[in-house]
Every structure is written in C-alpha cells, then in structure tokens.
Amino acid sequence: MSTQNASVSAPSATRPNGAGAAAILAAGIGAFLVAVFAILADRSAAIKSMMIFWKPTGPLSGVTTCAIVLWLAAWAILHARWRNRNVALTRVNAVAFALLFLGLLLTFPPIADLF
C-alpha cells in the first residue's frame, strides 16, 4: 500500500513562495518593459537609432532585446533575494498583474500614441 502510493504522496507547502513570486513579478516587469521601450523608440529619434541592434529588423531588435535582458536580470535578482523567503504574494501579484495589463494596453498603438 505504501509503495503503491509513493508516487502520489501529499505535496508539502514548506517551500518558501519567494522563488515563484520572483518569477511572477519579473514577468510583469518584462511585459511592461516591452511597451516602455517601444514607446521610447517611437517618440525619440535618438533612442530609435540606438535600438537598431540588427539593421534588417530595425528598432524592434533593440526594443525586444533590452526588454528581455532586463526581464531576465530582474528575475535573477529577485530570485536571489527572495528564494529562501516568504513574501506578500497578494501585493506581488497585484503589482505583476498591473504591469502585465499596462504592457498589453501600452503596446496598443492608439494608446501608445497618447504619450
């Protein structure tokens, strides 16, 4: 009986939630940064030319590369700080969802053009 149930043993909640919270908040930051860099590249000719990492793709190459690098950096930093801690997930989720929805909205051109 006990050997039969070995593969479905009850999961425990002893692991701190910090590692998960770090991934969630970093993803919100990443989504938001895509929109922020896109708006910046659209508004400033200097930033637009700085964002051309690969000419055939144009500023999109820099916009997305910068957002991804900063998302991964944020994930690594938050993970290092929170992995052994329990954090206030309600607040982390609220911030992450807000950033995610802002990222969605701000990539929509009629809204992005308001800035």
């Binding site: 593969s7 909640a13 793709t57 991804i68």
Partner: protein, 193 residues
C-alpha cells in the same frame, strides 16, 4: 503538367504562423484546462509524478514554441515585410509594409495591426516561460500555493490573448499583403485533369 508550388518566404510564413503560432494557441487552451483541473482546490486527487512530468514537458515545449514564433517573426519574416523598395518602384507586391501603407483602406493593418502585433507578441513567451518556471520549481506543491497558481493561470490567459492578437493580425496582414518571394519550391507535381 501541373505544379503546386510555394515560395521560400511563404514557407517561412507558414512555419512561423501555422507551425509555431497556431500550435502555441492550441496548446494554450490545453495548458489552461490542465492547470485548472490539476490544481483547483476542490480537486482532491493528487497528480502522479508521471502526470507532473508531462505538465512540465508540456509547458517547456510551449515556451519553446512561443520563443520560436517571435524569433522567426522578428528575425526572418519582419525584415522581408519592412524591406524598402528602390525609388520609383511601381509594383509593391514584394514590399508588404509599403503595399499596405500605399492605400488608405489598408494602411491601418500596418499602423495599428503590425505595430501592435510586433510588440504584444513578446508578452506570450515571457508569460509562458514564467509559468513553466514556476511549475518546474514547485511541481505538485503548487496545489498548496493558491496565489502562485492564480498568477500562473492569469499569465497563461494573457499569453493566449497576446498570441491571439498577434495571430489574428498576422493572418489579416498576410491576407492583404503577403510576404512573397525567394526561391520557388515545387511541393507536388502531377498531370492536368
């Protein structure tokens, strides 16, 4: 003799849109059902290690599909889409962006459709990579973290939405100004009937 042929650029469009994008969209619904079914609080049964391994592989595969979709889109197709025609070019069929912008009835597909698609699509791989990361780290224990679980579900929903927007505009833009050109590939050859 009749041929069924496709250009290399059309083939890449198919690989990007149907191979990676559409497959990702279909996989999203499966992931949402599986995550909800497996971790919803009124489900008392515990997933086996085999089920758990399947979900991990499934989400990692989805993340790979999402990254392949955005990377092929941005670095293979987009340069063809935004190519600038030489001055005086009358036939813009090989320059989709310029073809769309040449008419007021189609310019919105670029100025709203492509401008949104090229950025919003990146939210999908970011979101699904996070979901895969959390499931890889917590596995079956995720059942005991309702807030982590909710966040994963919200991000997977948003990744479905972002990929859906990108897929819709990709299909419509390709309908109005297809990315064409490059070597011609004969798929099927047969007799005229």
């Amino acid at each position: 003799m009749v041929y069924m042929e496709i250009t290399a650029r059309s083939l890449w469009t198919l690989i990007h849109g149907m191979g990676f994008g559409a497959l990702y969209l279909m996989a999203c619904s499966g992931a949402l059902v599986e995550l909800y079914r497996r971790y919803c609080t009124h489900n008392q049964s515990l997933p086996t290690e085999r089920d758990e391994k399947f979900l991990r592989i499934y989400l990692v595969t989805m993340a790979a599909l999402a990254w392949l979709a955005v990377l092929t889109g941005a670095y293979i197709l987009y340069p063809w889409y935004r190519a600038v025609p030489p001055p005086g070019t009358a036939n813009l069929s090989a320059f989709p962006q310029r073809l769309l912008m040449a008419s007021p009835t189609t310019s919105g597909w670029h100025s709203i459709g492509m401008e949104w698609k090229e950025h919003v699509a990146w939210i999908a791989p970011i979101s699904i990579t996070m979901a895969a990361g959390v499931v890889l780290q917590y596995g079956r224990n995720l059942k005991n973290y309702p807030q982590l679980r909710s966040a994963v579900l919200v991000f997977v929903w948003i990744s479905l939405l972002a990929a859906g927007v990108a897929g819709f505009f990709g299909a419509m833009i390709n309908k109005n100004a297809p990315v064409e050109g490059g070597p011609v590939i004969h798929i099927v050859q047969g007799e005229q009937k």
